[in-house]
Symmetry: C2
Subunit: 206 residues, 2 copies
């Protein structure tokens, strides 16, 4: 990977910036991994630094502080869920909900997704933490909305949207606790099965 740059733009040595971005990326990945497997408090900045073969102060060159680090990771995962929040207007509410849930589930099976939970129950404050709270609220609100719409268009059975949304979120958040990257089931398969099971329920359909 030699530097092929011939025309050096006066401002912003492109290479430098690209390299820096790349490193920031590596920092976030290492952080995600560490936080995902050990939680917030049991993960020290020295741990993360060690994973990268650097020292703690260097980390501070790429992140403002510990909260910033974990928030950045979690926010990235949150955004991936939020992308799925607007479904196809033509579909039934149930189909739109299923679409959202599938994405939600898949994200929760990643290290980045796990960090959403980490941020949430470590009570990370500051702008990063607040952003997470708002994002999760937004997802919750959308789920409730789709549940309500679904009872109208007939695609979803009547029920308490608030409780049902909590139930679904709980089931999906739980994935973060047990999913194993190297296991037999891929994230997509888990997502698929969860959605089906939530949709169908336990009792047999006659």
């Amino acid at each position: 990977m030699a530097r092929m740059k011939t025309v050096k733009s006066p401002w912003a040595g492109r290479d430098r910036n690209a390299e820096r971005e790349e490193k920031r990326e590596a920092v976030l990945h290492a952080a995600a991994e560490a936080f995902a497997e050990r939680g917030y408090h049991r993960t020290s900045l020295d741990d993360i630094a060690a994973r990268l073969g650097i020292t703690k102060p260097t980390l501070y060159y790429y992140a403002r502080n510990k909260d910033d680090l974990v928030s950045a990771v979690a926010t990235r995962a949150l955004d991936r869920i939020l992308e799925a929040i607007e479904g196809d207007r033509e579909s039934t509410a149930l189909a739109q909900l299923q679409h959202l849930l599938r994405h939600y589930a898949e994200v929760m099976a990643t290290d980045f997704g796990r960090c959403i939970i980490v941020v949430l129950d470590a009570h990370i404050g500051g702008p990063g933490g607040d952003l997470m709270q708002r994002g999760m609220r937004q997802i919750d609100a959308r789920m409730r909305e789709l549940l309500a719409l679904g009872t109208e268009d007939g695609s979803i059975a009547r029920g308490d949207p608030k409780l049902t949304a909590f139930m679904i979120a709980g089931a999906l958040n739980g994935i973060a606790r047990w999913f194993d990257e190297g296991g037999a089931l891929s994230a997509a398969m888990v997502a698929e099965k969860f959605v089906n099971q939530l949709t169908a329920g336990l009792a047999p359909r006659r």
Copy 2:
């Protein structure tokens, strides 16, 4: 309320022991409250002591250490769930599962129940932590067993017992995250609705 003891047994001043037990109880309640609302790491022993109007060393008079404290609390909750593990042999597997889930859900809505989750994701080790792990495994195993039995007796639809058990556990564990003692819904009502929703699924039954 008053100490009505007239015959003082030579050994073991009954009063003393009773009082001590009472205090140990108060310590566990304060600990449960603290751990439930702030998690393991954000709860200091000074916090707990302060809730009781005593000092930290006094706490050590009633508990071996921090881990012992949180484990004791969680174990107590766990036992309440385990009580419901053996259902009525006459009932269908679905009914037995529902019975277990109802209890599980109700416990998760208490401070003690919340501490199960706290212990689990703070990775508390030692005898207390191991006991929790085993207990949770036992519950998981029983759920899978009932799910399998249910497909046989026809009370439960076919599905992957492992995944389904994870899904259910996730939904129920989630209760710990949001349930509000002072809210509109009682723990029993939440448990009831969760069980119904899990049983019926999202899609309408025709």
